[in-house]
């Protein structure tokens, strides 16, 4: 006969000689010496890196600080942000249309969508940008009217597509090709049964898309989409080939003049990191919003997690102190 206090001896090395019940014995946590060594090693490397950043005068942190909020830099940052926002909206709007075309039953719509993705994914972005910038050479003016019929309005291509316009077109159309696939994957990830249920309830078609399919597709769209937007944000630096005054072009102009190359690159890097961090934080909350219903309990926000960690840490310290006593 065994009681709860006297578990079979096989479970541990040997039964306590004095016969004290297990639940009154002190528990000693397992030691992890490897983990401690690795942690110490990484801490040393980290300290070395920080130390060199601080002590090496060639980083010229004073210059970085002076230029970080300099007017032309801030203007460049604003242009970069504008470019990112406009092309992300354009890219994902067009991408959604392309995805729906690809999923339609019309062979022509499918083929056109496939062809678009094929072309715009195949040609390097830098080449596309230069092509758009030189559009005026191919078509001096753009006409709006009835296809093959009379035109109602005509504009000079150069006046419509300036540097910024070429950058938006190039980045946006390129982005659309990638976005189309992301949106399509998201839509395909929604269970077929959801559409059947919506159809059997007679929910109108548009409502099926906006209320049933897209909110569920968003769960798989958001992480990759934000990835793309961050890529796009940093990718805007490529439009420096059009001599458009975004962040990267602005710093390159400044270091061309002052020869302070590294600190100026650092200025740009700091801005890119800060803004990417902002996007990442937004992503976290968007993902959390679309996770409703997909998980039993929502993951805690960073603040909640911090609070929980602090409480847990404190109580661990308290227990350790009690054990020591």
């Amino acid at each position: 006969m065994t009681t709860l206090d006297e578990r079979p001896a096989a479970a541990t090395a040997a039964p306590p000689p004095t016969g004290t019940p297990y639940d009154q014995l002190r528990v000693v946590p397992a030691r992890h010496p490897g983990r401690w060594v690795a942690t110490a090693g990484v801490a040393v490397l980290l300290a070395m890196a920080v130390n060199s950043l601080v002590t090496n005068p060639r980083w010229e942190w004073d210059v970085v600080g002076a230029y970080l909020t300099e007017e032309s830099i801030v203007r460049g940052v604003w242009t970069t942000v504008q470019l990112t926002l406009i092309t992300a909206v354009l890219g994902f709007a067009l991408g959604t249309v392309l995805a729906l075309m690809r999923l339609s039953r019309s062979p022509l719509l499918q083929a056109v969508s496939w062809g678009y993705t094929w072309v715009f994914r195949s040609v390097p972005l830098i080449l596309q940008l230069l092509l758009w910038y030189n559009l005026a050479y191919l078509y001096q003016s753009l006409e709006f009217g009835i296809p093959f019929g009379p035109a109602f309005a005509s504009v000079e291509t150069l006046s419509l597509i300036d540097k910024f316009g070429a950058a938006v077109l190039g980045l946006g159309l390129h982005q659309a090709a990638y976005s189309a696939e992301i949106v399509r994957a998201g839509i395909l990830s929604v269970d077929q049964g959801q559409l059947e249920a919506a159809a059997s309830l007679g929910i109108p078609r548009r409502r099926q898309s906006t209320r049933i399919v897209l909110p569920q597709a968003m769960r798989s769209i958001v992480p990759t989409a934000v990835n793309e937007i961050i890529g796009l944000f940093k990718g805007t630096s490529i439009v420096y080939v059009l001599a458009l005054g975004e962040l990267f072009y602005t710093v390159s102009v400044i270091y061309g003049r002052t020869q302070r190359v590294l600190p100026m690159l650092l200025v740009a890097a700091v801005w890119y990191v800060v803004l990417t961090t902002v996007i990442t934080v937004i992503q976290y909350y968007v993902e959390r919003y679309y996770a409703r219903g997909a998980v039993r309990t929502l993951p805690p926000t960073p603040l909640q997690r911090l609070r929980a960690n602090l409480t847990a840490g404190l109580s661990r310290v308290r227990t350790a102190r009690e054990v020591a006593r």
């Binding site: 249920a197 059997s200 309830l201 007679g202 409502r207 569920q216 219903g293 997909a294 039993r296």
Partner: protein, 268 residues
């Protein structure tokens, strides 16, 4: 001939006629010349081995599945088609999706795998279709939805998401969702097959309760006990054909067909 979105729901008889329906998936014929009449307010249970075409028949009735030949009618109105005069004769026109969706609101469909919308709460699941498909005022529908959840024993789960509910609870929400449309006909596609044995009873209990309210019901199931208790008629299908049909006593106790006998011997 378009049905008004909000017509008096309680006077709908719900007589279902299936005439000479054929359906193939590729080279596999799943329904062969199926004829069936379901009287308004009756409960019909469809039995048969897996792959006998029961589910396809059910899905053909509300046009989730388009049949190759034959037709389905609800109270004399063709499902999925419309008659139109054409040069002295008549032709059948396929309904545009919008009209088809409107017609579907007269059927309630309960799936084997529930198919609740996971990103909406139980209450939102029930409220969605009456508001967006039937255009009824949200406040009124919400009150009714709460009553329906109460009726399936889930009054306290209105704010829960489907994944926070057990299988049996999810299926009961799905039943409430189907009822919220005030359908003339309720179609159940193996409603308890995805449930743990101990949860089957709670769902069958709800369905039995509905059987006494006079809604026309067609239930595909493997629960023979339920069939005996709740069915007015039992239809036995095998290999895409209706082998025999009759009252529960006729089909379950004195089956005429060898196939029916063999099937019942296995499941009873």
């Amino acid at each position: 001939m378009t049905a008004a979105p909000v017509s008096a729901p309680d006077v709908r008889p719900g007589r279902v006629e299936v005439h000479g329906v054929h359906k193939s998936f590729g080279t596999l014929e799943v329904l062969h010349d199926v004829d069936l009449v379901v009287e308004p307010g009756s409960v019909t249970v469809v039995l048969g081995p897996s792959g006998s075409g029961k589910s396809t028949l059910l899905r053909s009735i509300n046009h989730l599945e388009k049949v190759d030949r034959g037709f389905v009618a609800l109270d004399g109105e063709l499902v999925g088609y419309r008659r139109k005069a054409h040069r002295g004769t008549e032709r059948l026109h396929e309904l545009p999706e919008r009209d088809l969706l409107r017609q579907r609101t007269r059927f309630g469909f309960v799936f084997q795998s529930f198919n609740l919308f996971p990103h909406l709460t139980a209450l939102e699941n029930v409220v969605e279709a009456p508001v967006s498909a039937q255009g009824r005022p949200r406040a009124e529908v919400q009150a009714e939805a709460q009553e329906l959840l109460d009726r399936v024993g889930l009054a306290d789960k209105a704010g829960a998401y489907p994944r926070q509910l057990s299988g049996g609870q999810q299926q009961r929400v799905a039943i409430a969702r189907a009822l919220a449309m005030r359908p003339a006909v309720l179609l159940f596609d193996e409603p308890t097959s995805a449930l743990d044995p101990e949860l089957v009873g709670e769902v069958l209990g709800v369905i039995e309760g509905l059987a006494s309210t006079g809604t026309t019901m067609i239930v595909v199931t493997h629960e023979i006990g339920f069939a005996r208790k709740a069915a007015d008629r039992i239809v036995f299908m095998d290999a895409g054909r209706i082998v025999e049909q009759g009252t529960p006593e006729q089909v379950l106790d004195a089956p005429q067909h060898e196939r029916t006998r063999a099937f019942l011997a296995k499941v009873l």
